[in-house]
Amino acid sequence: MDLITNLGIGFSVAFAPINLLFVTAGVIIGTLIGALPGIGPVSGLSILIPLAFGMEPTAAMILMCGVYYGCMYGGTITSVLLNVPGESASLMTCLDGYAMAQQGRAGPALTIAAIGSFVAGTFSIVLLTVLSPPLADAALSFGPPEYFALMLLGLSAISGLTGDSKAKGYAMCFIGLGMATVGLDPIGGIPRFTFGNLELMDGIGFLPIAVGMFGLGTVLAMVDNKTEMKIMNTSLREMVISRKDMSDSAWPIARGTVIGFVIGVLPGAGATIASFLSYALEKRLSKTPERFGTGMIEGVASPESANNASAVGSMIPLLTLGIPGSTTTAVMLGVLTLFSLQPGPLLFTKNPEFVWGLIASMYIGNFMLLVLNIAFVPAFVAVLRVPYRILAPLIAIFCMVGVFSVNNSIQDLWIMLAFGAIGYLANRMSYPLAPLVLGLVLGGYLEVSLRQSIKMSQGDLTVFFTRPIAGTIMVIAIVIILWPLLSRMLGRSGRDRSVASESA
């Protein structure tokens, strides 16, 4: 079967020593980044971009993916031990996880989180393995109108569904799109908005912007307050879980996996939403919903499984369609573009070792994380003791040297600095950064598909609706855009869920 051959290629790539090294490094770094409150997968990946740049593309992607799903494991550590979410997808774990810790059950909480994450992650990777080739095949028949519709869907989902203010979300999205138009016009080659600046001919530069907004911006958010943290002690012996814990968690893990995976695949919704929804579902299905929040292991197993499943799920649209399923994958797309690797159906035919090597390494990475998170928690906890006063400036200077190392450009550094300040302000004022990033990353492709579509149809705009697939997607996108109006008309009181979109 073709699948076996492909996996075979994949594993031979994944087991190459250099790639093994990077998957190990990735999952360890990811766990640390996930554990550190204030830095999530988006910031962590952005800080690492300059490093990835110096590596071979497959190794770089393996590293980044490792960091991504590693974060989902690591975020649990501080949620359980400190009642502080390591990143927003671990927020729900704080509720029952910390309660369990206070009852002396931190070990079982962490262990079940690791097991749930492993099961969910592995199962999702299997689905990824099985579903990607047919999806990529189907996508081969996609033309510019379909791609335009998909990107519109992704952009509207991220702008309209996450964050508190939709107006701000759309504003950021359009600004990101506008920024993407700086540089040489992709079809005509005419410079736009470059104001005679040679460096701007290539566009504003995704790298300094991403590192600035998410790396430096995060650092600034770290230093503007004095919060200290007290860590609870965990001994390894306590990591053993009882059979009852396992059986109680079985169904929550299963349900969390399914919810997480489906939400991950949908563009715009990420790990955070997945964890919220799965927690809510468990609570509703439970015979003792009132005990949620007091230390129910289901309340840990479910969201932890969901966030890992969604991380893997969001890789599917990225790899098969070239459309990011979450902010983190949007950053990955930006990096892949820097490598001149175009994700999408052609990736499977032109670079199979890359795709399958990546997928195979995800199996390896998840397994490593299971071991790391059960056996080495005390080591990670020790790292958390590094005070922010040292960590913050270290990350800042790391970002600066990193960005400089890519292009030797002082202009890049100024852009990074500016966007660091902008990112910090935007966070404080509830302007979501995800739509800006997505707009910036997709802007070029969006414009090309739009103009190609209209050229194909010779000026007929209905082409986006007459083609069945494009038409369906366009309708969904329009519904999402008009949703606030629609829900108000239907009389619902718009209950704004303040969902942190940053680390989705």
């Binding site: 359009f174 270290l394 990193g402 550094l413 600095l417 209209i454």
Partner: protein, 151 residues
């Protein structure tokens, strides 16, 4: 809080207006097909519409989450960090990577409250060392030697 929200909205509008102005200078249609000015124009409309909504919301006092501004101490730390980074940026190629990194670390950790002599000496040096290992040794990136000339 309304003032800041309104101001931010005005900034958005300004960006939209700027884009609109520049986009109009570009050809909208090229041989009956959208040209380079097409999308930027529509994007600028999008920004302006969204910006107007933001300003309206701000003026009507309808912000979902009130802005939490950091304390005076926090503002000072943010300024110190940004300022130190800006200076580091300017001096990176003159003073070289090692001195710039170490100096930056020293200034910022001191500002953040570190007073132990040991930390004040070790942290900057260790930071520069780690960065050197990662970028110069591992990635083989040439780092500005500055006053050390050819490191």
């Amino acid at each position: 809080m309304h003032k800041a929200e309104t101001l931010a909205g005005v900034v958005v509008l300004a960006i939209g207006a700027l884009l609109l102005n520049e986009a109009r200078k570009l050809p909208y249609l090229l041989e009956e097909v959208p040209g380079p000015g097409f999308l930027p124009l529509w994007i600028s409309f999008g920004i302006l519409i969204a910006g107007t909504l933001v300003v309206l919301n701000a003026l009507r006092g309808r912000s979902v989450k009130p802005i939490e501004w950091p304390s005076g101490w926090g503002i000072r730390q943010v300024s110190v960090l940004l300022g130190a980074l800006a200076i580091a940026l300017l001096l990176l190629q003159t003073l070289g990577f090692f001195i710039t990194t170490a100096a930056f670390m020293l200034v910022v950790i001191y500002s953040l409250g570190v007073r132990s002599w040991l930390t004040l000496v070790i942290a900057p040096v260790a930071a520069a060392g780690v960065l050197y290992l990662v970028f110069a040794v591992w990635l083989g990136v040439p780092l500005p030697p500055g006053v050390f000339g050819g490191e």
